[in-house]
Symmetry: C2
Amino acid sequence: MNIPDIDLPRVVVIGAGFAGLKLARQIDTRFYQLVLIDKNNYHTFQPLLYQVATAGLEPDSIAYPVRKTLRKKKNMYFRLTEVNQVKTQEKIVSTSMGELKYDYLIVATGATNNYFGIDSVEENAMPMKTLTEALNLRSKMLQNFENALNINDLDKRLELMNVVIVGAGPTGVELAGAIAELRNRILPKDFPDLDFRQMEIHLIEAAPRVLAAMSKQSSERAYNYLKKLGVNIYTDMIVESYDNNLVKTKSGKEFKTDTLIWAAGVAADHPDGFGDDLRARGNRLKVNEYLQLTNNEDVYVLGDAAYLETKDFQNGLPMLGAVAMQAGAYLAKQFNRKARKKKIHPFKYKDKGSMATVGRNLAVVDLKNSKLGGTFAWLTWMFVHLMLLVGFRNRVIVFINWVWNYIRFNNGLRLIVRPYKKKEDASN
Amino acid sequence: MNIPDIDLPRVVVIGAGFAGLKLARQIDTRFYQLVLIDKNNYHTFQPLLYQVATAGLEPDSIAYPVRKTLRKKKNMYFRLTEVNQVKTQEKIVSTSMGELKYDYLIVATGATNNYFGIDSVEENAMPMKTLTEALNLRSKMLQNFENALNINDLDKRLELMNVVIVGAGPTGVELAGAIAELRNRILPKDFPDLDFRQMEIHLIEAAPRVLAAMSKQSSERAYNYLKKLGVNIYTDMIVESYDNNLVKTKSGKEFKTDTLIWAAGVAADHPDGFGDDLRARGNRLKVNEYLQLTNNEDVYVLGDAAYLETKDFQNGLPMLGAVAMQAGAYLAKQFNRKARKKKIHPFKYKDKGSMATVGRNLAVVDLKNSKLGGTFAWLTWMFVHLMLLVGFRNRVIVFINWVWNYIRFNNGLRLIVRPYKKKEDASN
């Protein structure tokens, strides 16, 4: 790879997600040469992906070009390529653009979908982890409604219209709520010749409650909000297979749908080169309190890819954007301290709370000492997400879209810009 | 096709471009059942496609869902499907969703790229007529810069960076200007390790001047603006072939580039079923002054698909958005008059002038009695295009983007959302 050799330690960061981007922005490149690698040329604001899938936001407003963020930094190189393997012995990353030596490696590769070994789901379900996947979902649902118009058999028609979402974590809950609002308010006006009262939205969760990682109170509130919007909720239910538009569950209940959205699990996603002994739950790489990979002090792992047990989190820190951002900021600071020969501190995750939105005026927020719901929680959710978006332009555009959608009850972006096609496109 | 049979004449419109959409919005559906068919579920504002290709606007802001436009109309059906054939004898259109009888057929299918029979160009060039094509072009140029970083051979690197545009009509001129501005101001900051002073933008035109359809004065102004931005202009030059990244011209001059953009010609695009005797220059269908297809009084042709000779336009009305919009509005009015048994008038095109923008503060406008240039023309151009956009939300978003780009010298949307891949994707 074409990166100049200079007289500074080279830090190679894989992944421009929350953790990698934060680190790249805050590390002092007077002391380090930084090479940031990602397979996309943009950073994705994943918490709002579900709004792209449900026609509330345009993809460009929740993505931000990596190069634009890093413009003013010297000794900073971005490369758009895929990392195939890491050779920790030789301190080399091997990419589609060739090999690159590193002095320090930072693995911030995030997570991908976890299908728990169910092949039929992996093959036929719609995932929701990337911008392309969110656009595919938007296209597919809209295409299905268009095609349903031409089908006389009611069962077949409902198969195209019904949606099953597996996983009632924040993504599943937010999607279910947004799709329900589309069905209740917007789609009937778009498709006067389809009967949307018949369309069903099923949300299936293996745990005993929705938003299982949040407080009982927020979980119950979210349940009620979803019910109010007309979502069918099934807890303690495990999906077994999904073939020929038929969802089978362990409890015997079956669903017919052309659209199964998989939001049930994530697993860490990292290049080859890390032995089994380095991995823990969810394929994550075990790190010490300095976020160094076990037995590899030149390799750091951040965010969803890392597994760090703490007193409060005996199963490892949660795979959340907040953890990733804090880890990125922490590590940049330690690198900057190290360059100045200052003492290095261990990483401490500060839990600032969590939140999820279900719909118009409906959200839940867990803070340390209080649980919020309703309109106030919803406004809080919007404010926090706006502030977290990278780029002032994106904030303005998202804000205008939200105000617009709120006043007009009308998400404007119901476009099938590239038709969804199974397989071929799914890999993009 | 599932369209209810009711006791009103059925008007089938193929194409939701400027002409078809205008007609659909203005026809009185108390007197007619209207079926609008398009292969996309959105209307594209083609005049701004070049800004999507050059990362100035997001695709969603120049597209508008057809269903949203037609919401409040009764007896109005939209179908997302492709028309394969028209059977004028049986008064049937044959689509991928099945057949449909019509009482009146309105062909508003617009135009597609015309490669003048040069296969190598058709195979290897980038067209710029649809939203997908514009996005492909954006992705391809950005990918090429990313890849150029990893290439040491200067010639090979420039092959990836250089751009050749064929056709100096409004699209070619606007693209050349926008790409030159990217090169001059924005890309060098994004890619500090690429030398953009070496990147060349070539604009090739077969006619003796750029913007040949506009006045001599505007043509000269545009030429000077392009020169000022550093575009190489070649008039009276005809492209012969484009293979292995080599553009050959009749005059012998050759160009090496991975990106040849074809903006050199359009031809009417309509389904099978119209005999050769019905066609004129550019594959257009010959119509009479009521826009009726020759010898088929139940078939009307509007916009780019129609060929109508007039006193002022001996080679047929120009293939312009303005003609299409006027034709759509005209025909809706005549249908509404006919329903009320009023007299039908012939179509009269009112030439309100033409314009093109080259870059920041640089545009040309031809009006009947005056030719404008510079900042005033540029502001006029922006105002007119904003007003022509469908949808208030789109206008606001485009306006904000323009103001933003103007103040910050920074088009924000340099995202490769779906990588461009030859063939597979090109057909989407």
